[in-house]
């Protein structure tokens, strides 16, 4: 299936999802759905770097929060339409990803991973000390109740996140099937041999980091409107780092379907757990599943399905 066709299929599927959600008379569907879709974008973005090239990013929260705080910053200057904010958030996070990649990607993957952790903490400290965006007290964003053509504002946000999910999935799949995808895979499999075969590994890693960071920033840009009151502890929350890693690792890192499955499964599971048990237990479950899958099923759910199918054809 060519990428153009895939994109059309995705858009059609997204339209179905949106109109089905509208048929449910409870707006909660949109609130919960927004969170799940956000995770689809984050997981897919993480996987472009982590799954495809093998470089682990522990600081997904940093890129996500950059997008969110770019929105807060601009909101104080002049309220802009959210799609524009998404582009700006993506640009800011992309540039930071590029810069950080340039500093650390020439070193081993382990150092890059630790540097991403460092980035998250440094950025959080900067934001906490920056009063213009609210500092540790947080920032309020008043969102309108309704929007023309669609109705309740949360549906508009849901639609935007749906669009971002479609974009990120299409980008991921497009990469997989392109020359870039081969290059990423060789970096993951054996970086030295990749260089010796003519693959410009640093340049490709920078592309992956920038793309991944940009997508995460785009996911973060509408967040202040969704949540209404943005605090550094929620924007930089640990659940973003863990889920961005757990969802692709549990779903499967080798192709675009894995993060989607992981995000939908874990995202829904967490919505249910948070409401019924507690948010701490829900995070515990995610962490335990991550450890279990990494040990027992390293190729995730997609890997398990592939093994099962290969077993059946024997």
């Amino acid at each position: 299936m060519r990428t153009r066709v895939f994109l059309l299929v995705m858009i059609a599927a997204a339209a179905v999802v949106f109109f089905a959600a509208r048929m449910v008379s409870n707006d909660y569907v949109f609130f919960a759905g927004y969170t799940v879709l956000q995770f689809v974008v984050l997981a897919t973005a993480w996987n472009i770097l982590g799954g495809y090239t093998g470089y682990v990013n522990f600081g997904s929260a940093a890129f996500f929060a950059l997008g969110a705080y770019a929105t807060v910053f601009l909101h104080k200057l002049y309220p802009l339409p959210i799609p524009l904010l998404i582009l700006i958030g993506g640009a800011v996070s992309g540039i930071v990803g590029l810069g950080m990649g340039y500093l650390t990607l020439r070193l081993r993957g382990a150092f890059f991973a630790i540097a991403t952790l460092a980035l998250a903490v440094v950025l959080q400290t900067l934001v906490v000390n920056w009063d213009y965006v609210g500092g540790s007290r947080g920032a309020y964003i008043i969102r309108p109740n309704e929007i023309a053509l669609i109705g309740p504002y949360v549906q508009y946000l849901f639609l935007l996140m749906l669009a971002l999910a479609v974009i990120s999935l299409t980008v991921a799949r497009g990469i997989e099937r392109s020359q870039l995808g081969y290059g990423f895979a060789t970096i993951r499999d054996d970086e030295l041999a990749a260089e010796a075969s003519g693959v410009p590994t640093l340049r490709l890693k920078l592309i992956a980091t920038t793309l991944s960071g940009a997508l995460m920033g785009m996911a973060g840009a509408p967040f202040p409107y969704y949540i209404g009151y943005l605090q550094p502890s929620s924007a930089f929350g640990l659940e973003y780092a863990v889920n961005s890693i757990a969802m692709p690792m549990i779903g499967g890192t080798t192709n675009w379907v894995g993060p989607l499955i992981g995000a939908i499964l874990l995202g829904s599971l967490q919505q249910i757990a948070t409401v019924t048990i507690s948010s701490a237990v829900n995070l515990l479950i995610v962490g335990l599943l991550l450890v279990a899958f990494v040990i027992i099923a390293p190729n995730g759910i997609v890997g398990l399905v592939q093994n099962w199918m290969r077993g059946r054809t024997k």
Binding site: Y182, A185, R188, L192, A196, S197, G198, V199
Partner: protein, 245 residues
């Protein structure tokens, strides 16, 4: 020096206090078949790594095809025409055997200015290379399904896929049977007849003697002999190095 494809001058490489290479000078003329031998740990692979840019040497210089390549990254040197196979095969484990060959075709051959291969030409070239090393029936397999010997052939094929001017084969024949060794030597000689300069690093003396027009001997990071194979073999210093092992 005119006609020299590769010129290495005063190359030295240290790991902490350990001197792996000590002021190596060597030249390889275009079209030559050079053999490089030496006991284990003499620095052969380190030399290859420094020439190709995988390791950075502390001092000395490498000129390739009239251009100083010091400071260039490995992939840039590969694109300029240097290719090497690794002593311990390093295949791309999640790609099929055919796709392993596709990578240097996409990233080296197609990256050079001039005619880029179309997808059909790429597929044809992959098939051709696989035929050359007798791996055509394993095209769709993953490297983990290959035997050690087949992996070495894949390693060599991948280096060949980059259409190099200079091919450095690092112990490509370890573990092969007599006839397989002869096959590979024949293949390399044929490649050389098509214009590819080849440096063969090997322990299998039969192959080295059959293949080399010139023989270089490395011992403990120093070059101790460089000349016609028959003369080098009889050199007392060389005999001492091997017997004293």
């Amino acid at each position: 020096m005119p006609g020299a494809l590769l010129e290495v001058t005063g190359l030295s490489k240290r790991f902490g206090g350990f001197v792996a290479l000590d002021g190596i000078d060597l030249t390889v003329a275009e079209g030559e078949r050079v053999g490089l031998i030496g006991p284990n740990g003499s620095g052969k692979s380190t030399l290859v790594n420094c020439i190709c840019g995988t390791l950075v040497n502390e001092s000395g210089s490498v000129r390739f095809n009239g251009e100083t390549v010091d400071g260039l990254l490995t992939h840039e040197r590969t694109r300029r025409g240097m290719a090497r196979s690794f002593q311990l095969p390093r295949p791309f484990t999640t790609l099929t055997v055919a796709d392993n060959l596709r990578v240097p075709l996409l990233y080296t051959v197609n990256a050079r200015p001039g005619h880029a291969l179309s997808p059909t030409e790429l597929d044809a070239r992959c098939a051709e290379l696989l035929q050359l090393v007798a791996l055509a029936d394993k095209a769709r397999h993953l490297p983990r399904d290959l035997t050690q010997v087949e992996m070495r052939k894949l390693e060599l094929a991948r280096a060949m896929a980059a259409e190099p001017k200079l091919l450095i084969a690092d112990e490509a024949m370890a573990g092969l049977s007599q006839s397989e060794v002869d096959d590979i030597v024949g293949l390399l000689i044929r490649l050389n007849e098509h214009g590819i300069t080849i440096i063969l690093i090997e322990h299998i003396m039969r192959a080295v003697m059959k293949f080399s027009q010139r023989l270089i001997v490395l011992v403990s990071g120093k070059k101790i002999a460089d000349g016609m194979p028959d003369a080098v073999i009889r050199d007392p210093a060389v005999e001492r190095a091997y017997i004293g092992q």
